[in-house]
């Protein structure tokens, strides 16, 4: 341990807060740009005859594109730090350059994807590109800032063995994996298909039939991020915040011992029990879709 206990806990709390913001903003960036698995439906819609005004970037899988952003931010920050820049300035400039590069990828990806759908008559809306790309860059900037700041704290203050770019890369990949697993379900499972009955999974027959009308006018990606910011984004933030906080908390308190590992396992056990409670709650609240016919028939 490099710092005393109080300072370590303060640093850990700061990292947890940064991670929560990073997780939230990462998911919202993937919603406003439409990336990862739910984008398969946005891509499919024109082929089913449903033309839309949703941004369609999907540069790559979420973990890889976020890893790329974060590692660019981390690398630029490291270079600036070596030139004696003030750390906060270095992190901000690094995050900004990485966000601009992601913006370039987003623009070319959107244009390329829509161009490939010419035969389905999907237009490339220039106003969508103008309004949405800066929003993608802004979301990505905040995520980069938070992740590079976490990497900086881990390397410079806590003395982690890996360098800032490598730590940023790892956290970028992790936040992408979490955003893709958590927040995207809110976008893909709910927001894209609000035209079906609430409270059921997506029937395969509905694939590609995404909602195209908004509360007012035609729906675009800014409408989607407005909706997902209410639940999907914060839930992703909580997941990354918990990951960053609880992966370091046991060793901060109990040192590098088997006891710390035991505490880590205990945290996982508590999360498992909480998942079971959620499962029981929803089973009780929503009930089965079908009657339990088999058993009653067997008894009769």
């Amino acid at each position: 341990m490099v710092l005393d206990l109080t300072m370590s806990m303060a640093i850990l709390a700061l990292m947890g807060a940064l991670a929560t913001i990073a997780g939230c903003l990462e998911d919202l960036e993937s919603d406003v740009g439409s990336q990862s698995n739910p984008n398969s439906q946005v891509q499919l819609a024109p082929q089913m005859g449903f033309l839309h005004r949703i941004y369609n970037k999907a540069i790559s899988g979420e973990p890889i594109s976020n890893g790329m952003s974060a590692v660019i931010g981390g690398t630029v920050t490291t270079v600036l730090l070596s030139q004696k820049f003030y750390p906060l300035t270095a992190i901000v400039i690094g995050a900004f350059i990485a966000a601009i590069i992601l913006g370039i990828f987003a623009t070319t990806s959107f244009a390329g994807r829509v161009a490939s759908q010419t035969r389905f008559k999907q237009p490339l809306y220039m106003d969508i590109m103008r309004y949405t790309t800066p929003s993608i860059i802004a979301h990505n900037f905040i995520m980069n800032f938070c992740l590079v700041a976490i990497a900086y704290i881990q390397f410079e203050i806590l003395g982690y063995p890996f360098t800032i770019p490598f730590l940023a890369l790892i956290w970028g990949i992790s936040v992408g994996a979490i955003g893709s697993s958590v927040g995207d379900v809110h976008y893909g499972g709910e927001r894209e298909f609000q035209n079906r009955e609430f409270g059921c999974g997506l029937n395969t027959a509905l694939s590609g039939r995404i909602v195209r009308k908004a509360e007012s006018g035609l729906r675009n990606s800014i409408d989607n991020v407005w909706f997902c910011a209410k639940y999907g984004g914060p839930a992703t933030g909580i997941a990354l915040g918990l990951t960053v906080f609880f992966s370091s908390w046991p060793t901060t308190i109990f040192g590098y011992t088997w006891k710390a590992i035991g505490v880590g396992v205990l945290i996982v056990a508590v999360l498992t029990i909480m998942n079971r409670l959620v499962e029981l709650n929803v089973r009780h609240a929503y009930g089965p879709y079908k009657e339990e016919k088999n058993e009653t028939e067997a008894k009769a």
Binding site: F162, S181, G188, G201, V278, E279, G287
Partner: protein
């Protein structure tokens, strides 16, 4: 050139074993791919590689920190630190995912592969929404995922430990950390991709019939590929010594 001695062969074998452990781990993690992201299938709504690598890398951070700051850390402790980091990441992710399935999409959790949850005994088939292959994360999937993360994190920790021992004599300590870290990440990716072919992109976990069908073949493939990775790791060390 590095002389071939039994210790070196043991290192290669350990890298092979740890790669195999990561490959085995991926089979335990309930990945539903794109269908799960639309609540069309049971599991976590992302790909095998993304999730396995994502959780394994958090394990790598905790394992490397343990290795760097506990001079007496032996192989089991570093492996356990890796397992803990991975477990915490996947458990948090699955829990937050469950919150979305439960209160954002409003679907009860159900597995399409078993009639009753082997752990809780809850009926599953009646809770599957029409036209889907199950949805959410029932307890068996959650527990299977946690076990998988533990195996993956432990495997990552083991590779890192072996590589650090291999590179420390040849490199400055900070460079050794970096090379070992990047190589561990590479081995993790290689061994996350191999099971993707076997499971065809989605698997529900240990209770999925697919698990028994493909795990043997995948593990053997992974062992040989990881041995090759181990061999490369040693050859790199040879280059460093010149």
């Amino acid at each position: 050139m590095v002389a071939i001695d039994p210790a070196l062969l043991t290192n290669i074998l350990l890298i092979g074993l740890s790669g195999t452990l990561i490959c085995l781990a991926v089979h335990f993690i309930p990945v539903g791919g794109a269908p799960a992201a639309m609540a069309q299938a049971t599991g976590i709504g992302t790909g095998t590689v993304e999730l396995a690598a994502g959780s394994g890398l958090v394990g790598l951070i905790t394992a490397s920190y343990m290795y760097a700051y506990e001079p007496l850390a032996d192989i089991p402790l570093v492996m356990a630190a890796g397992a803990m980091g991975s477990m915490v990441m996947l458990a948090s992710t699955m829990f937050a995912g469950s919150l979305i399935y439960a209160y954002g999409v409003a679907v009860p959790f159900a597995s399409a592969q078993v009639k009753k949850d082997p752990i809780t005994g809850d009926r599953q088939d009646t809770y599957i929404s029409k036209g889907t292959q199950g949805q959410g994360l029932p307890t068996i999937c959650y527990v299977s995922g946690v076990v998988g993360a533990a195996l993956g994190g432990a495997g990552g920790g083991l590779i890192y430990f072996v590589l650090m021992d291999l590179y420390k004599p040849y490199l400055a300590l900070t460079s050794a950390f970096a090379v070992a870290g990047v190589f561990t990440m590479g081995v993790m990716y290689v061994n996350s991709v191999i099971p993707s072919y076997g499971v065809g992109g989605t698997i529900e976990g240990i209770h999925d019939p697919k698990f028994r069908r493909v795990v043997g073949k995948d593990v053997i493939t992974s062992f040989f590929v990881s041995i090759l990775c181990g061999l490369l790791a040693v050859l790199i060390a040879g280059g460093m010594s010149v």
